[in-house]
């Protein structure tokens, strides 16, 4: 139907884009991860597994990776805890205000991520909004210093930032549930609570999985929140990668860590998509 030239013209640019900006960089990273750095800070193109060996043997790397996963898991949990009820309320009980509330959830996404992270810094700091308030109402005498520069601050900030990302797929899957299924369930004698657990929740599982994956994967790779609010105890794996590619000038080790994370994330996404397919019935 379309000429060969036309088909070439529309398929080549996107393919070229993916190749140049995705495949080539990954390929380069893959190569770097098997190279090493000499005493004189030069990249030696000598193929070896030293970087991967270092990753597994030096606790700082895998401990940080585990801590990052632990932070990501908590962000996933809390953003689920906030996002699901929010999505459920909007989808089933917001009535005519549904669109308004939906916009209110989405609007924060238009604000720069950096601004939102900084906002938490202003709120949680020793002279911050929260501490000033606590002292003003005489709940504490001295400012609480565990609020900022801690894993707590990182989890709080990332939860705030990624809750809309868990909300969206859950909301979409709830909106997809035909309302007559809910009526049929009530009609067959199920109370609203029974209807939720037997009909609504099972049918929203694809959205839950997608939302959980978003929150976990996005938090796992985050480096700004730990940089701004994490302090020494809130360092995440991406901060190490950043320093390896920067001040430490060890691109090969940075590339090895990045590839490990890539493998981890791809594995998660693959797994979650398999589960989502299993739970969708359209």
């Amino acid at each position: 139907m379309f000429s060969r030239a036309y088909r070439t013209a529309i398929t080549v640019p996107p393919l070229a884009w993916v190749a140049v900006f995705l495949l080539v960089p990954y390929l380069l990273m893959f190569c770097y991860s098997f190279w090493s750095v000499s005493e004189s800070q030069a990249i030696v193109h000598f193929w070896n597994l030293d970087n991967y060996h270092e990753l597994l043997t030096k606790p700082v790397y895998w401990e940080t990776l585990l801590r990052s996963m632990w932070i990501a898991a908590r962000v996933m949990f809390f953003s689920m805890l906030l996002g699901y009820p929010l999505a459920y309320f909007l989808s089933f009980h917001a009535g005519g205000r549904k669109d308004l509330y939906y916009q209110l959830v989405i609007i924060p996404l238009w604000v720069s991520y950096l601004v939102r992270a900084y906002a938490w810094k202003t709120i949680l700091g020793t002279d911050g909004v929260l501490n000033t308030l606590l002292q003003y109402v005489h709940l504490t005498k001295h400012p609480l210093d565990f609020l900022l520069y801690s894993p707590f601050a990182v989890v709080l900030t990332l939860t705030h930032i990624y809750t809309p990302f868990t909300f969206l797929p859950i909301y979409a899957s709830l909106e997809h549930i035909p309302r007559n299924l809910v009526e049929a369930s009530h009609d067959l004698g199920a109370t609203p609570a029974q209807t939720f657990w037997r009909v609504i929740f099972p049918l929203s599982i694809p959205g839950v999985l997608a939302g959980a994956t978003f929150a976990f994967v996005l938090s796992l790779g985050d480096f700004l929140a730990p940089l701004l609010l994490g302090g020494p105890s809130g360092i995440m794996i991406s901060n190490i990668v950043v320093s390896l590619f920067g001040a430490a000038y060890n691109w090969p080790l940075g590339a090895a860590i990045s590839l490990c994370m890539l493998a981890l994330v791809l594995g998660l996404i693959f797994f979650s998509e398999r589960l989502e397919k299993k739970w969708s019935f359209s």
């Binding site: 035909p178 007559n180 299924l181 009526e183 049929a184 369930s185 009530h186 009609d187 067959l188 004698g189 199920a190 109370t191 029974q194 037997r198 009909v199 099972p202 049918l203 739970w279 019935f281 359209s282």
Partner: protein, 375 residues
């Protein structure tokens, strides 16, 4: 359902003395829009009642009030001496077959049918045997382990029916359950559904916009027009003795004759016939099949004869539909046995029995409410 463990239910089609369901002055407003006004209706145990009406007549809203998905604005609904409309849907012994079936997509056919019993915490063995029995009843046993998405619309319809009946409700509500099926399957299901209803003896309230379907299946038809009950009667009575012009036109075809009655004679154009009605303007309904080509000798003195020119003839298989213009310019539709008529401009002679001209109250056809013409 074989009701071995349940008390015997009335299988008789005759209404028993106390009604099962009593709808008392129910009205429903959506904001300023009045969807139902002052509906009162009693339904007997074991009855097959059809709520018939055009789209927008309020028939589905009435059904949803009975199921509990909508709250009536005023009025009450009682079932076997207990108030029904104040109970939430999950506490009513009423089950619904939805228009789009509403099967749970994440459950197998078997789990769908057993849902109500599982919710009621029946023992597993009982659930299993009752589900198997219900599936057998609707001839779907072979599909017990299938997911709803893997079976056809007609099969889904049977599962929806089994899922409702397995709970042995006092009352089954059916919201246009056959409207998504193709014509042949639909006719087959009409017969099966009616047979099933007689077998299980459960009271059915069936909503449809299809007057033919209503006539084939029902013990009684409740015709709704713009949120009000136009007429409630058996199919034969509603067809043969329509109370209003709307009923006469909506159920089957009819000729509406505007007549002036004076001194025991009704006159409409060139036609006139004896009547016992008081003097004044009256509307009569005359079914097309009540008019026939005139025979040699009038069968009685109440036979009305008239001459008319053939305007149009349409072949409908067993019958022909004729459009004729009588001497006075009155256009009439006539249904006769199929045959060839002389294709000439010469007027033909037709006749009908005066008793077949049924006086009707004038109500408008269409969903526009026109309340001035009602007494």
């Amino acid at each position: 359902m074989a009701t071995t463990s349940e008390p015997a239910v009335a299988t008789s089609r005759q209404p028993s003395s106390a009604p099962l369901l009593s709808i008392r002055s129910v009205a429903k407003h959506f904001g300023k829009n009045i969807v139902l006004r002052d509906i009162s209706l009693e339904i007997a145990e074991g009855e097959f009642l059809t709520i018939l009406g055009e789209s927008g007549s309020g028939k589905t809203t009435l059904l949803r009030i009975l199921a509990g998905f909508e709250q009536s604005t005023s009025g009450e609904v009682w079932m076997s001496g207990e108030r029904l409309d104040t109970e939430p849907p999950y506490r009513r012994r009423v089950n619904t077959v939805f228009q789009s079936y509403a099967l749970f997509p994440h459950m197998t056919v078997e789990q769908n049918v057993g849902y109500g019993l599982a919710i009621a915490r029946r023992p597993a063995a009982e659930i299993q045997s009752r589900v198997a029995e219900a599936l057998e009843k609707v001839k779907m046993s072979a599909y017990a382990k299938s997911k709803p998405s893997k079976i056809s619309g007609g099969q889904q319809q049977r599962i929806a029916l089994a899922r409702a009946l397995v709970n042995r409700p006092r009352l089954l509500l059916l919201d246009e359950p056959l409207s998504a099926l193709d014509a042949n399957l639909r006719r087959q299901m009409q017969v099966e559904l009616k047979a099933l209803q007689r077998e299980v003896g459960i009271t059915f309230i069936f909503v449809t916009h299809d007057q033919e379907e209503a006539m084939v299946m029902s013990d009684r038809i409740a015709l709704l027009r713009s949120g009000e009950l136009e007429q409630v009667a058996s199919p034969r009575e509603i067809y043969n003795r329509p109370a209003t012009s709307y009923t006469a036109q909506f159920i089957g075809h009819t000729n509406l004759l505007r007549a002036d009655v004076s001194h025991g004679t009704a006159k409409s154009g060139a036609l006139q016939w004896p009547t016992s009605l008081p003097d004044g303007a009256t509307l009569f309904s005359l079914r097309p099949e009540c008019i026939r080509p005139a025979t040699a000798v009038p069968t009685s003195n109440a036979t009305v004869r008239f001459r008319a020119k053939l305007r149009d003839q349409a072949f409908h298989g067993a019958t022909d539909l004729l459009r004729v213009e009588s001497d006075g310019g009155l256009i009439l539709t006539i249904r006769t046995a199929s045959r060839d008529l002389p294709n000439s401009q010469a007027p033909l002679e037709f006749e009908f029995d005066a008793a077949d001209a049924i006086p009707v109250r004038a109500t408008s056809l269409g969903s526009n409410p026109d309340f001035e013409d009602r007494p």
